[in-house]
């Protein structure tokens, strides 16, 4: 029996998203290997990692070389939708595996779904759905969108508007800002003037954090309007500081302080991180996904090099790990687990660094993600 596997952590090590994945993803993969106990059972597991610099062509070249030369079996992380979609095609062509924990695009399990890919942590549909639904339910029934003017922003806005309307709310306006703006005051003034209860930020990364910071300055939150982040991570909150970020609402599928399992893992993780950071949901996803993968190949006994076969097996097996709890993987490659709506604590409520979130609501996995009935994935038999 061939009991060797190679894991490729393909991530952004140097760019905009390096805090989310980057070195932390590699660490999470290592911890998964250590915790799997497979080495004791005669498995030989190697990890390679590389920086795709958020460039699809670099990503595919590295990935192709990994598959052809280094014999990598499985890709994890693969942040950045552009890179993820490119690698998705390649992995399918070469019959390898991708457990994507970093990309936001829900196309990975919709039009672009593949028998070789599992989308683990989150996607735009889920974020829109969870945040939109929960906030409307809590009384935030008028929305104004601040949307980054490119495909990703449009998708987030479109999905969220649909949810808002479906839940009985109303969208009273939208302003589209260019990607990577440094100043949002004009847009915020327009949002403020709209008097909407919720200002939905359909953007990401630096755009979102700057929006939040400047919203605080223009007294938007203190004026009674609420900011809803449609894609925000704990690292963003950490970098904003509670003073500015307090009161924000948004969805994540992992938080270090959810339960004993998450706390134990996160403590071990952060001790080994250079800057003592807690794991992001992307990094947690790398760990969780690999644990499930290891369980599956161990059960198969060996020869884990047929990607389609392994993924099919993974889909058959229910998932269970300390970070995301029990869950399943659907036919379209979507991993299901609960989505949590968090609100950022006030500075006074926080007990220390990284103690940032209050849990506001939970949506079960089956309701949080795009239902199969709406799926355009050819793998789904209707």
């Amino acid at each position: 029996q061939d009991k060797t596997v190679k894991i490729g952590v393909l991530t952004d090590n140097s760019g905009l998203y390096s805090d989310l994945g980057g070195a932390g993803s590699t660490l999470a993969a290592q911890m998964a290997v250590e915790d799997s106990g497979l080495a004791a059972k005669g498995w030989k597991i190697d990890i390679v990692s590389a920086d795709h610099q958020n460039k699809p062509d670099i990503g595919t070249t590295v990935a192709r070389q990994w598959i052809d030369v280094e014999k990598v079996d499985i890709f994890v992380d693969v942040l950045n939708s552009g890179v993820a979609l490119a690698v998705n095609n390649l992995v399918k062509e070469k019959n390898a595996i991708m457990i994507n924990t970093g990309a936001a695009t829900s196309d990975l399990t919709n039009t672009q779904c593949s028998p070789n890919t599992i989308h683990w942590v989150y996607d735009t549909y889920m974020l829109a759905n969870s945040t939109g639904q929960a906030l409307v339910k809590a009384g935030g029934d008028t929305w104004y969108f601040l949307t980054a003017d490119y495909a990703f922003g449009h998708a987030l806005e479109r999905d969220t508007s649909a949810v808002v309307v479906k839940s009985g709310g109303k969208v009273i306006g939208t302003v589209r800002h260019p990607l990577n703006s440094s100043d949002f005051s004009s847009f915020l003034l327009q949002a403020q003037a709209s008097k909407a209860k919720i200002i939905g930020m359909a953007n990401a990364g630096g755009d979102t954090t700057n929006t939040i910071k400047q919203a605080a300055e223009f007294g938007i939150v203190s004026g009674g309007q609420k900011l809803a982040g449609l894609l925000l991570f704990i690292n963003d909150v950490h970098s904003l500081g509670l003073k500015v970020a307090q009161g924000l609402n948004f969805t994540e599928t992992f938080y270090w302080d959810l339960n004993d399992g998450t706390r134990a893992f996160s403590k071990r993780f952060s001790e080994r991180m250079k800057n003592k950071a807690m794991p992001s949901m992307v990094q947690a996803g790398v760990y969780s996904g690999l644990i499930h993968y290891f369980k599956t190949i161990d059960a198969m006994g060996g020869n884990p090099h047929d990607g389609v076969k392994v993924v099919a097996k993974m889909k058959e097996t229910p998932t269970d790990d300390p970070l995301f709890g029990k869950g399943t993987i659907r036919a379209d490659g979507r991993k299901l687990h609960p989505a949590y709506l968090f609100e950022v604590k006030k500075p006074a409520e926080s007990k220390g660094p990284w103690d940032y979130y209050k849990l506001v609501g939970t949506t079960p996995g089956e309701q949080a993600f795009r239902p199969l009935s709406e799926s355009a994935c050819p793998l789904v038999k209707k």
Binding site: S14, P56, A86
Partner: protein
């Protein structure tokens, strides 16, 4: 722009012979790659960038025009080809044609706007134009924004060569590269090239001799942009995607870096530079966070210590032009 060219030596018949020998050696070496066990995709990508850098070098090294927006031709041709191949279902040769035509059209327009500007203004206006284009591509629906055009079919070139076979693809790319390279080489050493050099040296004087210098510069710009576009179209077959990174200004910076490392205004410098930089990107990818820092260090080291570039330094050492 005279400081740029202090080290270029006049081309003598002997230099041309040296260059032909170098070229033959390069062609043979590259031809042997698939048998050598070297990973062909790496070489293919490097070849595309090498052609791109050569095209850029035509403009700066021989026309004295620094374009800081050459990525726009790469990206435009890439998007055009990708769209033609994927959405319209064109054959590879037609796909390439569409890409090259797109880049050529773009170079006519941008060249017309920028060519009358001098020196640093030229660099800035090309940078601005490419940035303008970047934002357009970011928002245009057919490019799929930051997701890019993915999974482009490779097809059969002229109905014969199956491009999904790496070896076949390799030789097609190699042939494309060598063809482009020869065209550039010929341009540099043509009657037109001579006029271009004299314009770079002293434009006022060239005018007083009756040359309409703008027309010559424009032709050089169009040639350069078109060949850069050809490189972009070839790259589509290698990477099988077309994305925003190819039009971003950092890509333009990389093109400059490649040419600089290899040797500005040398015939083979851009090729060597492209291989070095692409190899670095591939092999440093494992170094993670330090990639950009290392790239920066190379820039600085290059400018400070071997400004002539690798080939330039070698040529200077042997007092040859390469």
């Amino acid at each position: 722009m005279s400081a740029l060219t202090d080290d270029t030596l006049p081309v003598t018949p002997r230099a041309m012979r040296d260059e032909m020998i170098m070229f033959a050696a390069m062609a043979v070496l590259l031809g042997l790659v698939p048998m050598s066990g070297i990973y062909p995709f790496f070489v293919m990508q490097a070849l595309c960038f090498a052609l791109l850098a050569c095209a850029f070098n035509l403009l700066i090294g021989y026309g004295g025009l620094l374009s800081f927006g050459h990525a726009m031709f790469l990206g435009t041709a890439g998007y055009c080809s990708a769209h033609a191949l994927k959405v319209w279902g064109f054959t590879p040769e037609l796909g390439i044609l569409v890409g090259v035509a797109g880049a050529a059209a773009l170079s006519v327009v941008t060249g017309f706007i920028s060519i009358r500007r001098q020196g640093i203004y030229f660099a800035m206006i090309t940078l601005a134009l490419s940035q303008l284009l970047y934002f357009i591509y970011l928002q245009a629906p057919f490019t799929h924004g930051e997701d890019g055009i993915q999974g482009i079919p490779q097809g059969r070139l002229f109905g014969i060569f199956d491009l999904s076979k790496p070896t076949v693809l390799y030789y097609v790319v190699l042939a494309g590269f060598l063809g482009g390279f020869l065209l550039i080489y010929r341009t540099i050493n043509s009657p037109f090239g001579e006029v271009l050099k004299s314009i770079r040296e002293n434009e006022q004087r060239a005018i007083s001799l009756g040359y309409k210098t703008d027309q010559y510069k424009l032709l050089a710009f169009i040639l350069s942009g078109t060949i850069a576009g050809f490189a972009g179209s070839l790259k589509v077959f290698v990477a099988q995607n077309a994305s925003l990174t190819d039009v971003h200004w950092t890509m333009s910076g990389e093109i400059v870096l490649m040419t600089l490392v290899g040797g500005l205004g040398t015939v083979f410098g851009p090729v060597v530079g492209a291989f070095v930089i692409i190899a670095m990107q591939q092999y440093l990818a494992g170094f993670g966070q330090w990639v950009t820092v290392i790239q920066g260090v190379i820039f600085v080291a290059c400018v400070l210590t071997f400004r002539r570039g690798i080939i330039g330094e070698i040529a200077h050492y042997f007092r040859r032009s390469l």
